[in-house]
Symmetry: C2
Subunit: 216 residues, 2 copies
DNA sequence: CAAGAATGACTGACCAGTCAGTCATGACGT
DNA sequence: ACGTCATGACTGACTGGTCAGTCATTCTTG
């Protein structure tokens, strides 16, 4: 992003941003259908027609809001820095950032739901576009951990990544839909412990093998 | 459910069911908004007005579809029977049934999304109503496993149940949104292994303690 | 021939998107 | 300094299409 913008362009971009911010709140509060363009305009104290100078239509405005949200998430995840580069700290802290982000920005969850419910024909929900962009770096990262024998090698890396990702994805939605019953930090600890060690006791780990058969 | 229904009532109930079945498919295929009452009627070869003899409105019809889906899930989960009552088999098989059900009935996932996106003011999404109804039995079940030292006791039962539930919930949605890249049975095995043992290697388990701190 | 079931044309509310018109600003000429 | 004009950002009344729900009428059945 260069700053080589004329003052006019700059103002325009800024205004566009204000619109996105206001629209995000209203879309999340009211849902896509019930959030009329008139209302977005009213909220900003401008006329409806003006919105169409910045966006080609309601759908484009909405998708701009979703995208902004996922960019904010991306930014939050990139702020993860671990002092001595401890890989497990890096995992734990990324989990923390993810849960914290959506705890603080529930409106973005609502937009993800609305997006999927209403624009059903889109090739891929925005969340997964961004998720996939992060994927290859995580894959390399886990590969190193496997090579150095620090995580188990009897499961495919992609299956591991999927499980962790799905656990977080599900946690985010559930928190939003029915609320957390415990403080975020406790939930975070539970998620990390579950991810690292699973549910079995130490004694049972040795006894139990190959439970996942399918003789039913 | 008694069978003490007059033939007329019976016919009525049956017809109602046919409507729900057809509407489920159309709601899932088209989304709530784009699925007009006219179309549901047309699909069944009846007039729109007839639908209003069976349901008070579009919303009621839709919610009946969602509820039917969750009842079907409930039925599928109740079919879990384990020969020698092995608790871990019971867990594994329930996971299997859950994943399999939504793999075979993706339309019900779509309805869950639509429900949450459009009826935002409902007290609780239908999925969680049914989930909560199953909860206490699972809590007792896990309590026994803890008491007998077969699962770890350093995490709260509800946190464990939440993690497992969220993992499955997230997996279901992700499968539906972007598809599985591996066969269902492989995914199932990965989920079960992850749930039981987590990601750490055996060597690392001993070394690593208390990673989930929050000094950031 | 009731009585209830089914019909489908009709209504009224709703709202995204349009576009003819207004207005603030600033540039230019006198 | 002042009037004139050009620009384009902004406005908001209006249109056209959509669709849930209604109800007077027709059909079916016991």
């Amino acid at each position: 992003m260069s700053t080589a913008l004329s003052p006019a362009e700059h103002r325009k971009a800024q205004r566009r941003n204000e619109i996105v911010r206001a629209a995000t709140r209203l879309f999340a509060d009211l849902g896509y259908a019930a959030c009329e363009m008139d209302r977005v305009a009213g909220e900003l104290g401008i006329a409806k027609g003006t919105l169409y100078l910045y966006f080609n239509g309601k759908q484009e405005l909405f998708l701009a809001c979703v995208d902004q949200g996922m960019q904010d998430l991306q930014t939050a995840l990139e702020q993860v820095v671990v002092p001595d580069n401890d890989p497990f700290r890096r995992i734990a802290q990324s989990i923390w950032r993810f849960l914290q982000f959506f705890d603080e920005n529930p409106q973005h969850i609502e937009l993800l739901i609305q997006e999927r419910a209403i624009f059903r024909d889109r090739p891929q929900p925005t969340f997964f576009v961004y998720r996939d962009a992060r994927r290859s770096r995580w894959r390399d990262f886990y590969q190193q951990l496997m090579d150095s024998g620090r995580i188990r090698t009897d499961l495919a890396i992609d299956d591991l990544l999927d499980s962790i990702g799905n656990l977080l994805y599900g946690t985010m939605f559930t928190n939003y839909f029915v609320g957390r019953s415990v403080p975020l930090c406790q939930q975070y600890k539970a998620v990390v412990e579950f991810t690292f060690r699973g549910i079995l006791s130490e004694g049972e780990r040795e006894r139990l093998t190959g439970i996942a058969c399918q003789d039913w």
